[in-house]
């Protein structure tokens, strides 16, 4: 039964990684933009949620969508003002720019919110564990699994089935032809970028309880986002999703069964997968 509890914790952790990283999969994979500042948008969502719940007394579930919207809005503004100018630049320029943005966000949040770790006050219903046939099911983790599961399905459907999804794929694959067909490419990119940032913010709000929220969030978790996207391959949503699950379960189970090796399990998984499939689980060679 302990095995199932560990499995459950691992799935929840993996789902959390997925929500945090899938926005990056969208910007990095679909838009081919190396945005290392992804974690900064996640942190923004976390802090928006924390301030609404702790200071203004909003219910947790009402604050979650606001965290999404706030990060998406910040993302949209940044995209129009800054990111847009870097689409055609080299990946090195994009990396340098976005890393700079991370450091600025750390300093800014440290200045405004202080450097101590913040906790979001959760409703009682989300605290504690339910005992189901001897498996310890954490209520908060169960909520993460449900929300993230729904989100994944919605995301996959949006990209594969909707008109916006096909426009986006067209705009990415060949922006010039797409523009010729009457697709407003800059607008599609702006919307996609904002949406990716919104997802990050949503993930940030959800993860505060488990991962902790402080101004160093974007730096601490940058490595995890990158592992998920690298292992998953960046050309679809399925790849990062399966990668997140694999890494989440691997990390939790590894730490439980081999505590001495604990932190290395996740890296070992990454290395093995990358040797086997250098472009990630569902990778393909870049379209351009």
């Amino acid at each position: 039964m302990t095995f199932l509890t560990i499995l459950f914790d691992g799935v929840a952790y993996g789902m959390l990684l997925f929500v945090l990283a899938c926005g990056l999969a969208v910007t990095l994979g679909l838009m081919n933009f190396v945005n290392l500042a992804h974690g900064a948008f996640a942190m923004a969502g976390g802090y928006v949620c924390a301030v609404l719940v702790n200071t203004s007394g909003w219910p947790f579930f009402a604050a979650l969508p606001i965290a999404f919207l706030a990060s998406a809005l910040i993302g949209a503004v940044f995209e129009r003002l800054l990111y847009r100018h870097l689409y055609d630049r080299s990946h090195l320029d994009q990396v340098l720019f976005s890393v700079g943005l991370v450091f600025m966000s750390v300093a800014a949040v440290d200045f405004i919110m202080g450097s101590s770790r913040i906790f979001i006050k959760l409703p009682d219903a989300l605290q504690g564990q339910i005992d189901l046939f001897g498996i310890g099911i954490g209520r908060y983790r169960l909520m993460i699994i449900v929300i993230c599961g729904l989100l994944t399905v919605a995301l996959q459907l949006t990209l594969a089935k909707t008109r916006f999804g096909s426009r986006l794929r067209a705009a990415v694959d060949d922006p010039r032809v797409a523009a010729g067909l009457g697709i407003n490419v800059p607008q599609v990119f702006a919307l996609t970028f904002a949406f990716g940032c919104g997802l990050a913010g949503f993930g940030g709000a959800l993860s505060a309880e488990i991962l902790g929220l402080d101004p160093y969030f974007p730096l601490k978790f940058m490595i995890y986002f990158l592992i998920v996207v690298t292992v998953g391959g960046s050309s679809s949503i399925t790849g990062p999703f399966l990668a997140s699950l694999l890494l989440g379960i691997g990390d939790v189970a590894g730490k439980y069964y081999f505590p001495k090796l604990g932190p290395f399990v996740i890296y070992t998984i990454m290395i093995v997968i990358l040797i086997w499939r250098p472009n990630g689980l569902f990778g393909r060679t870049a379209a351009r």
């Binding site: 101590s116 906790f119 504690g128 902790g212 601490k220 939790v252 189970a253 439980y256 604990g262």
Partner: protein, 392 residues
């Protein structure tokens, strides 16, 4: 023409000769304290508490001691030892400070140690807590605590109070390993057994797998040491996993239950037993006044770092009084050695041999008082020296 030039030169020399002592005399009027603490970054709360406490002390006791005006020069090293070293150098060489003080973490204190020795400037350590620090320079005096002081005491206490099996969970870095070693030695010497020993990586986001392992090991208690910021996450996940209802107690050195963070941990922290040198709930008249004025000025209660800073500046004040205004490092240091006084934490003194602090260590339990969480002291070990040094 030639004469004129010579007289001009002479005049200049005379002017310089008379001006120099005046300048020197003016320099002697101020006594400079170079305070190097992290004010930004992950350790910022340490620096802020120390800075606040020093402001509070100066406000209460005035800024003139033995005819000298005290000037505190604050530098933010963000807990990066390279910065600490550079700032200590600047303070000693350019600002000509009489004392360097502060030092949020052990590597920072160690980085400045050779400079203190070389320049013969007393280095007052107000926060960092590993045993070795005071051994790195004969000019280091400490007013905070050592991890071994609290960890050995909780080990002794646990062994004597019906705790037989303990699982340990400590962060895998120097202070965590110090705390673990000190605890293990005393707990097993008292007849206790360690049933599980887990070192958590410092950058660990999720405690779930480690806590599950603790739960399955079914110990009487868990010994925990994690960096202050992670304490809250740890306690929340501890409760989430139902460990608070499984009868497993949490024990540890008091750093995890810092007054600074205690309230944000929520009711999960209730009943945690720790050993430490300071609690904001310490029932002395002096502490009550300290907590009240600190709250009034800064809007929150002081933690143990604030007390380290408060006592550090007190030590500097009193040393200067004792030397009658003599400001050279050796006189100040001689005055500091063996000094004893009443602190908000209780009676304390500076060990004349090790220059480390000797203080009472209290066993405390987290309880709710007036809707707030406090570490309530219920047992006391008198005048504890740093056990990390007694072997010599």
């Amino acid at each position: 023409m030639l004469m004129g030039r010579r007289t001009l030169l002479q005049a200049a020399c005379i002017a310089l000769a008379t001006a120099a002592p005046i300048a020197a005399a003016q320099a002697q009027e101020t006594f400079k304290v170079g305070l190097i603490v992290p004010m930004t970054g992950g350790q910022a709360s340490t620096g802020k508490q120390i800075d606040n406490a020093i402001k509070l002390y100066i406000k209460k006791h005035g800024d003139t001691v033995a005819g000298k005006k005290i000037e505190v020069i604050l530098k933010d090293d963000a807990a990066i030892p390279d910065n600490t070293k550079r700032m200590a150098q600047e303070l000693i060489v350019n600002d000509k400070v009489n004392v360097i003080a502060g030092f949020g973490i052990t590597p920072a204190a160690l980085a400045a140690a050779p400079l203190a020795t070389q320049a013969k400037v007393p280095q007052v350590v107000m926060a960092a807590g590993t045993s070795i620090i005071t051994e790195r320079s004969p000019y280091i005096v400490r007013t905070s605590f050592t991890l071994a002081q609290s960890s050995t005491i909780i080990g002794d206490w646990a062994a004597k109070n019906g705790i037989k099996k303990v699982a340990t969970l400590t962060s895998d870095y120097a202070p965590g390993n110090d705390a673990l070693a000190a605890f293990k030695q005393h707990f097993t010497a008292g007849g206790g057994a360690i049933v599980e020993e887990i070192k958590v990586p410092l950058a660990n986001p999720d405690f779930a797998p480690f806590l599950q392992r603790m739960k399955d090991a079914k110990p009487d208690a868990m010994f925990v040491f994690v960096p202050a910021g992670q304490g809250g996450s740890f306690m929340k996940q501890f409760a989430e996993r139902g460990l608070d209802k499984s009868g497993i107690k949490v024990i540890g050195p008091g750093d995890v239950m810092d007054d600074d963070l205690l309230n944000s941990m929520g009711d999960a922290a209730l009943g945690v037993v720790t050993a430490h040198m300071y609690s904001a709930a310490h029932p002395s008249a002096m502490n009550k006044e300290f907590v009240a004025t600190y709250k009034k000025d800064f809007g929150q209660r002081p933690g143990f770092m604030a007390v380290g800073g408060y006592d550090g500046i007190h030590l500097i004040y009193e040393a200067l009084k004792k030397t009658g205004g003599k400001t050279d490092g050796d006189s100040l240091l001689a005055a500091m050695k063996g000094m004893s006084w009443e602190s908000p934490r209780g009676p304390i003194s500076i060990d004349p041999e090790t220059r480390d602090i000797v203080q009472d260590i209290y066993i405390r339990k987290v309880e709710k008082v007036d809707g707030e969480l406090y570490n309530i002291e219920f047992a006391k070990f008198d005048a504890v020296k740093d056990p990390g040094k007694t072997k010599k």
